[in-house]
Amino acid sequence: MRIVVCVKQVPASSQVTIDPETKRLKREGVAAEMNPFDLYALEEALLLREKLGGRVMALSMGPKQAEATLRECLSMGADEAVLLTDRAFAGSDTWATSYALARAVEALGDTDLVLCGKQAIDGDTAQVGPGLAAHLGWPQVTYVSDVRQTEATHLVVERMNEEGFDVVEVRLPAVLTVVKDINTPRVPTLRACRAARRATVTTLTAQQVNADPANLGLGGSPTRVVKVGPPPARRRKTLVLDGPSESSAERLVHELRMHSIV
């Protein structure tokens, strides 16, 4: 089975800054890490390869420094790493990003399965996985929490929703987005980390994946970020209740009644 895992480098949670010009998150010169959900996607790909054989390719779209995230994938056991990088991608929204990734998956050829994390923790949109499936014209299953059955032509998986889960059979090739419940990602060995530092990361440009420039970057993106700012601050003061438990409990119940909650 040939599996492509889409990974994204995201700013480390404590270091959010915004580019005043593009109004997008600033990624240059900011401490970065692999999107945590993508670790589960990669681990699932490695587990499927152990079971069925095949190859695991890690694919990322981003600036040159996203290579570090791809090397992390190699250290965990990915066979190949591909960085899709081009000035033409700058400012792409989820529509344009999923378009570019779809062209890259097609250019890589003969893929049976694409795995993504359920969403990236910077944008939190969860739109690229389904968008990628739509651009490829493949089926998708989102929020996958378990792969129950694997065959050469199809998979049976569980997908989570608000009420529980669905059991879904999906024909390959397909795109799955996975949640944290699906596995426990492995920790790479020191030796694997060293080897990954020297390994080759293939670079692909927009032209090399036959992406139409009209569908890329700010110009190819239907949406525009027009304003970015801090969320409105919570202005209420904290009321500390540090008396005996019974009186704190009475007070809370009273407050809940005042708010017509109980």
């Binding site: 949670s13 989820t94 998708q140 059991v167 059979e169 397909a174 700012g229 969320p231 019974e246």
Partner: protein, 338 residues
């Protein structure tokens, strides 16, 4: 391969809501969106349409009319009874291409967040995820969509000037639910839409309702969350007893989920769910930033913790310094006395 839709914005009118229904009932988020759509449509002197996909769903139309829909556009097909992403996406895209709405809204639910991005690619539309605010320019019809990003640490405003329709998924429980207007009615269109020639590459074999809470976290008014301080599954039994008394739902931090005390489905935070209940009561939760980003927009936050310096105590409206194993039973007793 992509439908060009930026040449002429004029034919695109009206505000659509993609209905979500389960077990023969329209979900609350759909009513909330009908209320929001009504406000937007009134600014543009347009109509509110409700797209209703499924098997034998036209009977749900009156509920939609009473919450503000002028038109219910139903597709009734057995193959749409369960949520099959590609079939639902193709049907919705076909309706959009035929009737050309200016705006399409859907709940930012598991289904909405799977379905709408797929439709937006097909119709070449701008889509904004997980909006918490919607405003419209009365002249141009451009929708100003506000959404939190980076776990709620920033608020972004997004618009789509050239492409129509403008699409947004909207976080449940942010827009108020309109009161039903008995007797309000509208126009029902049952669209005869043929299924695609080829069978779908996916099949829903089983739909399992698996939860201990009687109300889903995203719909709960009252969430009581436990962390490491709950100390084990038996501690969570206490939280469940409290939840059943106040009609709430139980949730957990990553620590409690990783310890195996609670299923991942109930995890709140960066790698779990984001919720916005009326009351969020955190018990034995220290309040790591990764947890706070999943709940900090709750209306009222109560924290019960033995450590008065825990980060959650700074965020809370009511910070109870004490042992949850004493405070919760005392609250249960006080509630029973009411």
């Amino acid at each position: 391969m992509y439908t060009p839709n930026e040449s002429d914005r004029d034919p695109y009118r009206n505000v659509w809501v993609v209905a979500e229904h389960r077990d023969g009932a329209i979900q609350g988020v759909t009513f909330e969106l009908l209320g929001a759509a009504r406000r937007l449509a009134d600014v543009r002197c347009g109509e509110v349409w409700c797209a209703l996909l499924g098997d034998e769903v036209a009977g749900l139309a009156p509920d939609c009319f009473q919450r503000g829909a002028d038109v219910v556009l139903a597709v009734e097909r057995p193959d749409l009874a369960k949520f099959v992403d590609d079939l639902h996406a193709e049907a919705l895209a076909a309706l959009i291409e035929k009737y050309r709405p200016e705006i399409v809204l859907s709940g930012a639910t598991a289904r909405g967040r799977a379905l709408i991005p797929r439709v937006a690619v097909k119709t070449c539309s701008g889509l904004t995820a997980d909006c918490t605010g919607l405003q419209i320019d009365p002249d141009t019809g451009v929708l100003l969509q506000t959404r939190p990003a980076f776990g709620g640490n920033i608020l972004a405003t997004i618009q789509s000037v050239r492409h129509r329709p403008q699409m947004a998924t909207v976080r449940p429980r942010v827009m108020g639910e309109p009161q039903p207007e008995p007797g309000r009615t509208g126009r029902l269109i049952v669209e005869p839409l043929a299924p695609p020639n080829a069978a779908s590459p996916m099949r829903v074999l089983e739909e399992v309702t698996a939860r201990r809470n009687t109300v889903a976290l995203t719909n709960a008014d009252f969430i009581i969350a436990g962390g490491r301080g709950v100390r084990g599954p038996r501690g969570f039994d206490l939280l469940h007893r409290f939840a059943s008394l106040v009609g709430g739902a139980v949730a957990a931090t990553r620590a409690a989920v990783d310890a195996g005390w609670v299923d991942y489905a109930f995890q709140i935070g960066q790698t779990g769910q984001t919720v916005q209940p009326q009351v969020y009561m955190a018990c034995g939760v220290s309040g790591q930033i990764q947890h706070l980003v999943g709940m900090q927009s709750s209306d009222l936050i109560i924290a019960v913790n033995r450590d008065r310096n825990a980060p959650i105590m700074q965020l809370a409206d009511y910070a109870v310094v004490g042992d949850l194993f004493e405070v919760l039973p005392a609250m249960v007793a006080a509630l029973r006395r009411l």
